[in-house]
């Protein structure tokens, strides 16, 4: 017990100790912001890998570490699409994952956002044209937000996600 307390005291607060986001995120359309307003600044995410190289997953996972601590912004990772407001999709959509992606999309309750994370999800990246790839994601399901990068840094992902939480400007 003493050891644990000592360790925690010695470590201190590490949240926020990371380089700033550098990549300009794409401006969000008013429709997206309107849809997102329904979530009232919280965002529950279901992550779906449709054939990524797992670096994008690792960066999503990094968001939950104490340095980025995404939960402090009301962003949660859900275990089921039924609990999700948003799907984060990584990877170029392989032939084998196409059905599963469509299923997950169907199972996510409306209103829902689809966020394509990484170059693969946006344009198939290095795997474009392959016989085993049917993507990109927006060929199969409508995509609302795109976060480019291979992989995007966690700070960039965090920035893009918190942008979604902003209130739409009054008309």
């Amino acid at each position: 017990m003493f050891r644990i307390l000592k360790k925690s005291l010695k470590t201190g607060v590490v949240t926020g100790r990371h380089p700033r986001a550098t990549q300009p995120s794409e401006p969000l359309t008013p429709e997206v912001l309107k849809k997102a307003a329904a979530f009232n600044r919280s965002l529950t995410i279901r992550e779906v890998d449709t054939g990524s190289c797992n670096a994008c997953e690792m960066e999503m996972n990094a968001l939950t570490n104490p340095v980025y601590d995404v939960e402090r912004f009301g962003i949660h990772i859900a275990a089921s699409p039924r609990h999700a407001d948003a799907l984060v999709v990584t990877g170029p959509v392989t032939v084998n994952m196409e059905r599963a992606l469509k299923d997950v999309h169907k199972q996510t309750p409306d209103p829902k956002l689809v966020i394509a994370l990484g170059d693969c999800a946006i344009n198939c990246g290095a795997f474009k044209g392959s016989y085993a790839v049917t993507g990109p994601v927006d060929r199969h399901i409508p995509v609302d937000v795109r976060i480019p990068g291979c992989p995007p840094r966690p700070a960039d992902i965090l920035k893009a996600l918190t942008d979604i939480q902003k209130r739409p400007l009054p008309a």
Partner: protein, 530 residues
């Protein structure tokens, strides 16, 4: 060398009809074998006392259009001497059948099914001829690695369902899991059969993330395919790119400058560090002990930020290139690395003592998910998982590459094969990697970090390369095509051999322990599925 010659002599004496190829240029012995002899000779290599051959790689090549044949190649590592022995055979003309060696070399099971899927060659006598890579909805007769299959072919869809092995009886339930899992992890399907709590059988159904990587390689020039290799399994960026570069470099007869080799070792150890740190925490987290996970993921993050500062990439992307490394580190940067590691080592040691003093955690880890040495050997398991089950193997020591011939590695070895052993291998390797990096800083020579190549690889020439990545042995076979293209690139991530073994490690455990066991293996889906 004398030992090698005696192995070779023993083999030719036992099988007089095989032909030894001249391999003075290469670091292994190579034999041409007729296909009917394959089962006997592979069995001899595998079981013979003193040879103790472990199936290391099995790959096929479609030699058309140059020659109307398919080549099959079986690479064995002789355990006592760590020498490689390669057996090759050819299927001429319309011959599509080859004898399966799976009945007595279990480790060949997935390789042979993969060859059937990708080339349409049929392993006769294989006990399980279900599809592996191609899911059942792929149309009949689609074999992507055949040369007459266009790389951008658009696949149709047929009706079909995967048949799982069934256990039937009173009280037996099947529990399907996946392909999409609850956490942020890659897709794969697990089918459990349980009676009550204990798992009676687990069957894997993978290859959901199959992206056609080996075919994509064939569309790329030899010198420009490094980015693709980096994207096979993102967490093993350096491991894969290094293995690929080494294979191409031996095709081009490139001698890498010493400083370049040292930096490669440095980056490989950095990659090992951030992954192992993450894994130790994640194993604790899967027992619902979140504290070490928080600390470990913080340290992992520190490592990745360090990577970013050094190279501009958190995953060390674009660091390796054919001929060496793409960037040099200054003396100040080397000092920065060592200073950061000193801090993290201190930090991690404190955490280790917290972990070691938590009796309930250790209780949960001990005797969970035991992979016995025998099962590990039968599956030719590699890397961390193998070293936790008593297999004393590490390419950094056994077949040194990069700068490891000048950097002796202390290989970690545990015998029990449970989750705790796999965690301890990682913990010890973290310290060993840090020690190696300090040694690299002291020893790294001055000079260039890369060389340019002037030679062109001849069509049909090929080379093998092996790297001990953080998960285990990564193997590449690269064969040059016309005008600097790639004729064939076989990629083998350690996950491909370790996945089947997990099916045996879980038997008798309860399903709630499966995530823990799976985490302690921590295998790549993307690297496995290609």
């Amino acid at each position: 060398m004398a030992e090698t010659r005696s192995c070779d002599a023993e083999l030719t004496a036992a099988f007089p009809s095989i032909v030894q190829r001249d391999t003075t240029q290469r670091e292994f012995s190579h034999f041409l074998v007729s296909k009917d002899l394959l089962p006997a000779i592979t069995r001899y290599l595998h079981t013979r006392q003193g040879l103790h051959g472990r199936l290391t790689l099995l790959w096929a090549v479609d030699n058309r259009p140059a020659r109307n044949t398919y080549g099959l190649h079986y690479l064995f590592t002789l355990e006592p001497s760590h020498r490689w022995v390669l057996l090759s055979t050819e299927l001429a003309g319309d011959d599509r059948l080859f004898p399966s060696i799976t009945p007595h070399i279990h480790a060949a099971q997935w390789y042979e099914r993969e060859i059937r899927d990708m080339f349409g060659l049929i392993p006769q006598g294989h006990p399980d001829l279900r599809r592996l890579v191609r899911h059942e909805h792929w149309p009949k007769g689609t074999h992507p690695l055949k040369k007459d299959f266009p790389w951008d072919h658009i696949l149709g869809r047929q009706h079909g369902e995967h048949r799982f092995r069934r256990i039937e009886g009173e009280g037996v339930f099947e529990v399907p899991v996946g392909p999409i899992h609850a956490g942020i992890i890659e897709p794969g399907h697990f089918r459990f059969s349980v009676a009550g709590e204990p798992i009676m059988q687990l069957e894997l159904h993978h290859f959901w993330t199959h992206r056609g990587v080996e075919k994509l390689f064939e569309q790329q020039p030899l010198a420009a395919a490094v980015p693709l290799a980096e994207r096979i399994s993102g967490d093993t960026t350096i491991g894969h790119s290094l293995a690929y570069c080494q294979a191409v470099e031996s095709l081009l007869h490139l001698e890498i400058p010493r400083r370049g080799r040292y930096l490669r070792s440095l980056f490989l150890e950095l990659e090992r560090l951030h992954n192992h740190l993450g894994d130790v925490g994640a194993i604790c987290n899967d027992t619902a002990y979140a504290l070490p996970h928080a600390h470990c993921s913080r340290m992992k993050e520190q490592m990745m930020q360090l990577n970013d500062r050094l190279t501009g990439s958190r995953f060390l992307r674009s660091v390796n290139r054919v001929g060496g490394v793409a960037l040099d580190l200054t003396a100040a940067q080397l000092v920065e690395i060592v200073a950061e590691l000193d801090r993290i080592e201190q930090d991690f040691s404190e955490l280790e003592s917290i972990i070691a003093h938590n009796a309930s955690l250790i209780d949960r880890l001990e005797t969970t998910g035991v992979l016995t040495e025998r099962t590990a050997w039968d599956h030719a398991v590699v890397g961390v998982v193998g070293r936790a089950s008593g297999l004393d193997q590490d390419l950094r020591r056994d077949r040194p590459f990069a700068a490891y011939d000048e950097l002796p590695v202390k290989v970690v070895n545990y015998r029990y094969g449970d989750v705790r052993a796999r965690m301890r291998v990682r913990m010890d390797e973290i310290h060993e990697s840090m020690r190696l990096i300090r040694e690299i800083r002291l020893k790294v020579p001055q000079g260039p970090v890369a060389v340019e190549s002037s030679r062109k690889a001849q069509a049909g020439e090929w080379a093998l390369s092996a790297v001990e990545g953080w998960r285990g042995e990564i193997l590449y076979m690269v064969m040059a095509g016309e005008n600097g293209t790639i004729q064939r690139c076989k990629v083998r991530d350690p996950s491909f051999v370790n996945w089947p073994a997990i099916q045996w490690a879980v038997i008798g455990n309860i399903i709630p322990d499966f995530p823990l066991i799976n985490k302690s293996f921590n295998l790549s889906y993307a690297g496995n599925d290609l």
